[in-house]
Symmetry: C2
Subunit: 584 residues, 2 copies
């Protein structure tokens, strides 16, 4: 037997017990006649004690051989500590050893196994098994497990079935790139890994399963941005005989349940905002509503006053930063530099300070008199002590720039506390997005999204104006998930594919099974998919998902630990009837 207890379990009430523990040596403190070992496992740390002349002969020498991360099994007597450690649940006791067995040695780890480690990203990924020993990662994966369990139990209690859909499916090159899997039994043919189980969950609705969910891996062969992974996990859900309202209520309920159960936080009812409003007031379809600073438009007040920058702009729009009128020249210059960064792309920044003494000072005093500026302040609802920040230019681009500035001001003012959660439904997304480069429409959500019934007539006259029954769950400016009411009519689905530039043959070839299914009694249905990696990170209060995935890949799509991808044997290629191009 390796242990009677874990390293997180013993308390003062256990004093006097003879116990056995196994775990890793976190540290050894050797004071000569006394020696302490911190023994660690998943459950905690227990202090072990050895004393010269008291402990059995040889035990101390054995203990002195131990290095960090050695694996040992020890037995001893639970004893009250003289100097207790209130930081540690086991801090009232120590184990006075009477035996110590080395189970496995350890080389010196290339970085410290501490909450704040000295290891760099690449090293930590290569030695992921050591990084995963650190408390923060252990807590992240424990949280992830807990969230998965609670999500499943919640959906189960609401009558959802978890139904596994296949991973070896069919390549449908719409949207992101598929990972493909060559078929040995069908040479020259390929499976694809699912970007999501979208069509299968719709098929399950046609099959009458009524309420489906799955916590499921999805795959996208994209050029990886900082926080993207080629494989990621979704909470994927679909319901039949529902309206958009039913779906919003169900998954708002789920999210509130998770926050309450796992985090002990009541987030309250979700706010709702349509896409057009979100873009107008926040310049983003995923506004962070933990703070205000919504956009104020000034065209009527600020144009035709001789300031050509504004006069030539499609939109003059700003935000009011409360209490920032004392920003220094340097701070203001730095904000100007911020909006002028290439990835943001503004040409400049106009500011108006409403000083605490009631005076007004702006960067455009040459063009606007005080009365005019006071008019702006009125529009902003600004008070003495406030700072108005104004951008101008093409409407869409300017709103996006101002969104970045608003978020930056939120950061600077500490208005984006990761432990405060403000969820929001964004609704009524456009159905289609026009792509200038390819001169065609793309589905904003995906090709299976239903137009709003009242907008269907616009499909012929002005497709870009058609709104979809589509919605995103946004928390703290992060798109946690999105979904839509689906098309369940073969004719409308065909028309949609045609709008998206599919020939009838392409549509039939790729999605024929779904359109055929729609002819055999498809019920009205809709659903949602939530990013599980993202949701977990968000609930923990983190930005990056990487430390919420046990074995993530780096930005080149490489698993640094197992060193994959890698070449395969010629025999494997031969069996698959494939040749790698020689210049590859």
């Amino acid at each position: 037997m390796f242990r009677t207890h874990t390293c997180g379990e013993l308390r003062l009430t256990d004093a006097g017990k003879e116990v056995t523990l196994s775990g890793w040596v976190q540290r050894v403190r050797d004071k000569g006649s006394l020696l302490w070992i911190d023994l660690r496992d998943r459950y905690g740390i227990t202090q072990l004690m050895l004393e010269e002349g008291v402990s059995e002969p040889g035990l101390l020498e054995k203990a002195r051989q131990l290095g960090r991360e050695y694996v040992i099994k020890v037995s001893g007597t639970v004893t009250e500590r003289s100097s207790k450690n209130p930081q540690l649940p086991t801090g009232d006791i120590e184990l006075v050893l009477n035996s110590l067995e080395l189970l496995n040695a350890s080389k010196l780890p290339p970085f410290t196994i501490e909450d704040k480690t000295d290891g760099g990203d690449e090293l930590r990924m290569k030695f992921r098994y050591l990084d995963l020993r650190r408390n923060p990662l252990r807590q992240n994966l424990a949280l992830r497990h807990r969230l998965a369990i609670e999500t499943r139990n919640y959906l189960d209690s609401k009558g959802f079935y978890e139904i596994e859909t296949p991973y070896l499916i069919k390549s449908t090159p719409e949207g992101a790139r598929d990972f493909v899997v060559p078929s040995r039994m069908n040479p020259g043919e390929f499976y694809a890994l699912p970007q999501s189980p979208q069509t299968f969950k719709q098929i399950l609705m046609v099959a009458g399963y009524d309420r489906y969910f799955q916590i499921v891996r999805c795959f996208r062969d994209e050029d990886l941005r900082a926080d993207r992974q080629p494989e990621f996990t979704q909470i994927d859900c679909e319901m039949a005989f529902i309206t958009q309202e039913d779906i919003l209520n169900t998954f708002e309920g789920m999210a509130r349940f998770l926050f309450s159960k796992v985090k002990g936080i009541e987030v309250g009812p979700f706010e709702r905002m349509d896409y057009a409003t979100a873009m107008r007031l926040y310049g983003s379809d995923k506004p962070d509503i933990r703070f205000g600073m919504s956009f104020v438009e000034l065209n009527d007040l600020a144009q035709d006053k001789g300031f050509s920058v504004f006069d030539e702009a499609e939109l003059v729009v700003g935000i009011n930063a409360s209490g920032c009128s004392e920003y220094t020249r340097k701070q203001l210059d730095s904000l100007t530099d911020f909006v002028k960064k290439p990835q943001i792309g503004a040409k400049g920044l106009v500011y108006v300070k409403y000083n605490t003494d009631g005076s007004i000072k702006s960067s455009v005093d040459k063009f606007f008199d005080e009365a005019q500026l006071r008019g702006w302040a009125g529009r902003f609802d600004a008070k003495p002590g406030d700072l108005m920040l104004i951008l101008s230019g093409k409407a869409e681009a300017t709103r996006k720039q101002l969104n970045e500035l608003r978020l930056e001001m939120g950061n600077q003012l500490g208005l984006r506390d990761p432990q405060v959660f403000k969820p929001l439904w964004v609704t009524d997304f456009p159905l289609l997005e026009w792509d200038e480069a390819s001169q065609r429409f793309y589905a904003m959500h995906h090709p299976f999204t239903s137009p709003k019934p009242e907008d269907i007539a616009l499909l012929d006259t002005d497709p870009g104006k058609v709104r979809a029954n589509a919605y995103d769950m946004v928390i703290n400016g992060v798109e946690v998930g999105g979904g839509s009411i689906r098309i369940h009519d073969r004719g409308l689905q065909k028309r949609m594919f045609s709008l998206l530039g599919f020939t009838d043959e392409e549509a039939q070839n790729q999605f024929g099974f779904l359109m055929n299914a729609f002819e055999y009694g498809a019920p009205p249905h809709g659903g949602i998919a939530l990013g599980f990696d993202r949701l977990t990170a968000l609930i923990a209060g983190y930005d990056s998902i990487r430390d919420f995935i046990a074995f993530p890949k780096n930005n080149a799509g490489r698993d640094m630990m197992i060193d994959s991808p890698s070449p395969i044997a010629q025999q494997q290629l031969d069996e698959l009837a494939l040749t790698v191009k020689s210049d590859a």
Copy 2:
């Protein structure tokens, strides 16, 4: 709103309520002045009623347009039925309609949506969304969902974390063939889909996660046998600081919990049998112990009596079929034909009838006298009315043949009731298997399995004799899962790879990350993996797993519904730097 209730919900206590239902038309019975519709959804069937002159004008005409599988929404009054249907939970009531809305029409399904359908296998797979509407499949998937939920909650309650391991891993051509995934970002390199998360779960033990599980998809590119799928689901588990005994107890506990919770059956403590005994007594490493008929060896009694078939045999071995002494000539011939089938391969079958009148009659009366045959009967513990069936030849082959005959007799005698469950642990498997063709050892379980400590010395002298700390969970003759205590020492793991014919370079290249991990404080650990598709089918009392998978593939690895695998676009191949060989 599509419904106030489901089609399985309304009872007599709801009589008088105005309700709305949505669902599929199961059938329409039109009696002229009266018309009934059976409306179906996942939850049940509710009878709808319309009456000429009573129902609103036009409703009956509308109802008469409905075909099977049409999707409708109806409202009406819950009314007590005059002729109740006790088979149906809703059988006391019907819904007297006051409105009917067609939500979607349906073409005539190519087979009936009934418990016993008229559709053939291929047709049902092509129209899987229709097949999935049938009760038996719905019940199977509901059971699967329930088992997954209960499995997770059980393991969670025992301190296991579910941790997701990657699907894009590295090809390790030991064992079955991998499915591979070309990497676009690393041309000429490939990921592989996991045959199991084996190395990752061991890494998680090295990382200190202590108790891991995952209900996870696994992939094997094998030539498919009747009941194999290229992708299948495992309950994958690993524990640290445990002995084999801890693992057997934990997962015996889990299985007993599942049978009790989901099936209401107490299966009791598992029997245990070592591999050598299983092979000797049942000729199988997965004996069906729902019935006896264990093997009886006769070499000492039956050899050297002048019957050359026995004299030349390595083994003479038989079973006693209780109460079968009245088997006719035809029945006995048919058993002889059975064992002589090429896939079984016996040369012949010897029988001894212990007749109810006490007389003895055998097929070898020429060679053995009655006293000798009575001696055999004594060895078999046979009673009047029994039939002894005896095979002979090479020991291993003969035991396998007799295993088949034993199972066949179990079937014929009705001793294999699918609703009776007799679980068994088979332990102490050999570590290695010698392969004559390639003149090398293969790992019987996998290369990470630990030899029994007391057998380690044999690794040098007689590797084939080394027993492993490996175990299978067998229920009713089905291998539900298997596992082992793992090697956690780099040196022993290296030696194991070398025994299996790996060069040091190959071992390091494929499994270096694991052997490196073993150098940084790997704890003793072990685990098990259970086939979830198989377990679900078994618990439901079925042999085949196909109807327990929502979207299975056929024996050619093809998804008939979506028609996959399929060719991909030239652009996709180009991006992957791949060419399909022209003769493919």
